[in-house]
Symmetry: C2
Subunit: 139 residues, 2 copies
Amino acid sequence: MHTQVIDTLKKNQLSITDSRKTILQLFMESDGALAHMDIENNTGEEFDRVTIYRTLQTFVDKGIIHTIPSADNAIRYALCKDACSEGHHHDNHIHFMCDHCSTTYCLDHVEVPALQLPGGFMASRTDMVVSGCCNRCSK
Amino acid sequence: MHTQVIDTLKKNQLSITDSRKTILQLFMESDGALAHMDIENNTGEEFDRVTIYRTLQTFVDKGIIHTIPSADNAIRYALCKDACSEGHHHDNHIHFMCDHCSTTYCLDHVEVPALQLPGGFMASRTDMVVSGCCNRCSK
DNA sequence: GTAACTGCAAAATATTTGCATCCTT
DNA sequence: AAGGATGCAAATATTTTGCAGTTAC
C-alpha cells in the first residue's frame, strides 16, 4: 500500500520523508480534494504547519497534485492523473463541491465541454466547478 | 452617470454612502472583475480597509456583485446581471482570466454547457473559469 | 432622533521567510 | 559527507470583531 506513495515520490525525484509520505498517502486514501486545513486535522500535531505549506507547494510544482479553484477562499488540492507532469497539467476534468458535506470530488469521467469563445480570446486551461448535492448526501 | 449607482443602491435598500457609491461606481466602470486589492488601489487612502471588506460583503449579500472562484487565493468580484437578486444568483456565465494582464472578464454571452453528471449528483450552480490570453493581449 | 455605517484599534487567522538542525541519499 | 528537508521563530499579510463617533434618512 505504501508502494505507490514511494513510487510516486521517486518518480518525481523527491526524497522520501515522513511528511511527504504521510501527506501523499492522505491524498491517495481520500476520494475528495483536501484543503490545507484538512491535512492539518488529519495528521494531528505530527508536522509543522510550515512543512505542510512547503510539501503542498512541492507537490504542485512537481505535478503530483493540482489546485481546485473555489469562491470561498479555501484552496483545495487533489491528485493529478498520470497524464500530468511537471509544468504540464492535463486535469481538465470537472470538480464537484457538495453544499452539504463540503466534500470536493474530481469527476474524472465527465468531460469539460468545448466552448466557443469570443474573437481574440484563447483558452489555455478550463476550470469547471459544479456545486450542489453529492451522491452520498442525496441518498 | 451617477444615477445608475444611486438607483442600484436604492433598489437594494442600502443607504447612500460615499464608500458604497465609489466602490459600486468602480465596478460599473470596470469591464473586468475586481479583487479586494484592486479596489484599495483604485480608491487610494479614501476608505478604511475594513470598510471595503464590509462593503463588498454587503454587495454580495444583496446580490449586486458575485464572487468568481480562482485557484490563486485572490477572490474577485464582478457585477451581477439584473436577473440576480438577494439570495438568488443567476450568474451562470463564464469567466475568463487572462494569464498576461490578469484581467478577469465576464463572458456574458457564452453559455455554460449542460452537463451529464454521474448518478446521485445534483448541480445547483456551475462556475466555469477559462484562462488564457484575452482579446487585448492577443493583438 | 434613530438606526445604520464608518474608522480605528486590536484580535484572530493565514502565509512567507531566514536560519540552525536534522535527515536522506 | 553534502544537499536537501524540517522545525522554530518571527515577519508579513489577510480577515474579523468590538466599539465609539459620525452620517443618512
